[in-house]
Subunit: 168 residues, 2 copies
Amino acid sequence: MRAKITKAAAKKNGIKTKRTISLISDGTVLDHIDPEAVFKIVRILRIDECDDQVTVGNNLKSKYYGRKGIIKVEGVFLTEDDINKVSVISPHVTMNIIKNYEVVKKFKSELPPTIEGIIACNNPNCVTNVEHIRTRFKVAKSEPLALFCTYCERTMHREDIEVRLIRK
Amino acid sequence: MRAKITKAAAKKNGIKTKRTISLISDGTVLDHIDPEAVFKIVRILRIDECDDQVTVGNNLKSKYYGRKGIIKVEGVFLTEDDINKVSVISPHVTMNIIKNYEVVKKFKSELPPTIEGIIACNNPNCVTNVEHIRTRFKVAKSEPLALFCTYCERTMHREDIEVRLIRK
């Protein structure tokens, strides 16, 4: 049973106990994820429904941000659109496409001009909260984030954001 | 950048690329989790809100069940109650309490006699679906699972189970 291995044995076997999540041979690595956003991203990108090998690390040490999350999906190649979609809840995500243990593509998330679905409008009277309508926001400002609801015309800020799972 | 390391370099550094998630020194390891249940358990046990280092693996190879999930939480010691609570959505979970890389306590989840909250009643007319009332089921049978709703007296089976996040 893996966890029975002692630190000494781990060292003897050359296991780097500092390495929290192993390498993947082929697939996608999302790095520098805001710790608050990691498991939301798992749900938004449906990584929780994926049949392929998935590893998620959270609250890992980060040189730049103090703490960060990482998501690795074996055999799945996410797109730039996928990452831009989640940049609204985690601005600094980087995506690495891995083939045979090499990074063949590296991409930094960018806020798209509009955000559809994913997040709810914080105006309880907004039609998107009353009827079954997909939310739609224009990104008015990226830093600090300002999102303009195209339905009720209210402006939301980062602290107002509540993830809504459109798939459910 | 971690993922840039080639397979050769990985071998040279003695990194076991077979080891998906590293050891933890002190904390809790949940093993043999049903792949469908892993991220539900993360939410039920509020591991997604945890500030400590968390690693989650899903669809990992399992000798007994084909595929399995693993959750490791550094510095957090879950209780037998926590694990029994989730046994309704994943029957074979084992919990290992780790101290200084050694398993100091091992526990196999058991279905408790009653299950409160966590799952919804599948009867749309049940009062727990109409008013803000915590669900309560008696475990009538464990294999195959039969849950008796103490409010509407309907019996549910495993395929009827829908996780409800009582915290939200």
